[in-house]
């Protein structure tokens, strides 16, 4: 005893104080987030988060709280209740911090520090004496131990020392015993996610669309791990949604475009306005519905919802013509698209149309015309004629300048490019010249086999020459 006290007396406390101060300053400059109080009263508080260099598999094992000596054997038989609920393996890159309260005696670092308490945030780890003992073992006479402690805990190395890492399998799975895994798992997940988000928002990313380096806080990380700035993604998706090109609302990366990787609702919601999200969802529903070839659109111009064929109806029966719009409840005939006229009555011939036809065929100012104008009203007749002319012009335009997709019957107008078309709506490949379906695997064979479109991949209607193909000299 006399020896010890003599040694204590020989320690220069001023020197110790300087050493403590220096150690603290170094720690503060390297790990500013870890230190949470100053050393003035000799009490040190450390809050050390666990950050793995690469994400690790973590398996939470159901277990009653155990004493530290048992921790090294985590394979204790699980209790009855926890057996029923399987806990999934987690892949995390961080764990909530350990809180250390340390008292530094005036003679530290020439005498060991005192660990007043260790506690794991969210109680993810039951901290026993084992950890405390191992920490104290790291202290060496005259050397600051705080920095090694922080490193040892932050890197997750201490988990190995506590026997929580299944090293025998070589995969470094961390096994955490916990009395209530179903409570702990979501907590760990949420913590890891918040850490990743804050890391993400602090980093800078080069947006591949505007070619500018942008702070993560103004970027979006997509589920495929590609990162784009919010502004560019917004411009891109807004345009696609406005144009009804719902299939392109996805990751803009070339690989993802080829794989047609569409964005999920959460991603879309983060980027565009509520109104656009609604339209996006409507477009998606519409696309799903329209995959059904029996679809007929509701004839009411303000509605136009896709109405599928009702199930369990005999095709032979007149009832198979009945459609009821799920949106506006309008019931109509699938053949003539007029208000439902019952299963037995044939579709009425348009009296209106025959009226208009009769009127336009009559010479102007003829007495018959004047009579009709008197009978139906000049304005009514003129309105009907205008509508008829417009429909006629529209029909003519559709016939002369567009080609109908052979699958979904949408009319397509080509502006530039070759005659191999891919329907934007249903992805059907077809020939713009003759409207024939083409093989998705080899659409161009149509233009190189004898037929009306041989060698006409680039030719438009009208510049047809007289050349006829020769049999038997096709591609060898």
């Amino acid at each position: 005893m006399a020896l010890v006290s003599e040694q204590e007396n020989s320690i220069d406390l001023t020197k110790c104080s300087l050493m403590q101060q220096e150690e603290w300053e170094v720690l503060e400059s390297i790990y500013p987030d870890v230190v949470s109080s100053d050393t003035s009263n000799g009490v040190v508080k450390l809050e050390i988060p666990i950050e793995f260099p690469e994400s690790r598999i973590i398996h939470v094992i159901p277990e009653l709280p155990v004493t530290s000596t048992d921790v090294s054997q985590p394979d204790v038989a699980p209790s009855e209740t926890s057996k029923r609920t399987a806990v999934p393996n987690l892949s995390l890159s961080s764990l909530p911090p350990l809180l250390l309260d340390i008292i530094l005696p005036p003679s530290y670092p020439y005498s060991p520090p005192v660990i007043a308490s260790i506690h794991a945030t969210n109680s993810w780890l039951h901290v026993g004496f084992e950890l405390q003992r191992k920490l104290l073992e790291m202290w060496q006479d005259g050397e600051g131990v705080l920095y090694p402690w922080v490193e040892w805990i932050q890197s997750g190395e201490f988990l190995e020392a506590l026997g929580l890492v299944a090293s025998s399998e070589g995969d470094g799975v961390i096994r955490l015993p916990h009395p209530a895994p179903h409570v702990l798992v979501p907590v760990l997940k949420a913590y890891d996610r918040s850490i990743q988000l804050s890391r993400f928002s602090q980093m800078s990313y080069e947006c591949q669309i505007c070619l500018t380096s942008i702070k993560g806080a103004r970027c979006i990380l997509l589920s495929c791990t590609h990162v784009f700035c919010r502004g560019c993604l917004e411009d891109f998706w807004k345009l696609c949604i406005a144009e009804g090109d719902v299939g392109r609302v996805g990751c803009p990366d070339p690989e993802c475009v080829k794989a047609v990787r569409e964005a999920n609702e959460e991603e879309v919601r983060r980027v565009v306005t509520e109104e656009e999200v609604r339209r996006w969802r409507w477009l998606r529903e519409k696309r799903e519905l329209e995959k059904d070839p029996t679809i007929i659109h509701c004839p009411l111009s303000f509605c136009q919802r896709a109405v599928p064929k009702p199930r369990n109806v005999d095709d032979e029966s007149g009832w198979s013509r009945l459609r009821t719009c799920p949106e506006c409840n309008y019931s109509f005939c699938a053949y003539c698209r007029r208000t439902w006229h019952g299963p037995h009555t044939d579709c009425p011939l348009s009296t209106q149309e025959s009226l208009v036809l009769k009127y336009v065929e009559l010479p102007e100012d003829s007495p018959e015309r004047v009579e009709m104008e008197h009978r139906y009203g000049v304005n009514n007749i003129r309105r009907l004629v205008a509508k008829y002319e417009e429909e006629k012009a529209n029909r003519q335009w559709l016939e002369s300048s567009t080609m109908e997709c052979p699958n979904c019957h949408v009319h397509v107008e080509k502006s530039v490019g070759c005659n191999h078309m891919t329907c934007a709506k249903c992805r059907q490949h077809f020939c713009y010249r003759c409207g024939e379906r083409l093989l998705a695997s080899n659409p161009y064979v149509h233009f190189s086999t004898p037929g009306s479109c041989l060698n006409k991949l680039f030719e438009f209607e009208g510049i047809d020459n007289e050349w006829q193909p020769v049999e038997g000299f096709d591609v060898l």
């Binding site: 070619l211 475009v257 490019g417 891919t422 591609v475």
Partner: protein
Amino acid sequence: MDARLRRVNKEIADCKNDKQSNISIELVDSSPFHLIGAFDGPEGTPYEGGHFQVDISIPDSYPFQPVKMKFITKVYHPNISSASGAICLDILKDAWSPVLTLKSTLISLQSLLCSPEPRDPQDAEVAKHYMTSKSSFEETARYWTQIYAGGPGKEDMGKACDEGLRDEVVMAGLDRAHVDQFEALGFERSKVIDVLRRMNYRGANVAQINDDRVVEELLKS
């Protein structure tokens, strides 16, 4: 949309600074949305030594809609229209991504010259020529490179590069003897070339196409 202008300006500057890829982008007039891109024909191909120009037109919604490109320089290639220079490359259509740039697209065009895909042809006649006789196809492609893209051997040909003096038979990838044979029957030389080219009168095909069939076509045209 000045975001479009900013991006295009960046792309043009990036191309100017990049001396390695040998891709150039020049303005046609004062607008940065109508450009001419150019690159050299890849080595080890019939396009080697040629310099190829591409007309670039940048749409209003670029980069969310694909850039429009077509060859200004005439190219003899199964995937490029020999008449209009039109290209039907997937990334210029459905597979376009806003991440693609003018430079990366031009590089894709350059690599298209390296790897013709005759089963996905843009010019069916050229594709057939390629499938019938690859060596004859390459000879024609090389000749086109010399004539139109300033490829090697231009000096040896002297004035052949001038309009009217170039060899239409070689241009069409045909055998001079075949052309002479039908011309001797009293048909116009240009007509003979046209018909034989369309009939793919090359390589192994020659044996399969009856002379009468050719004459019939010549009479029809």
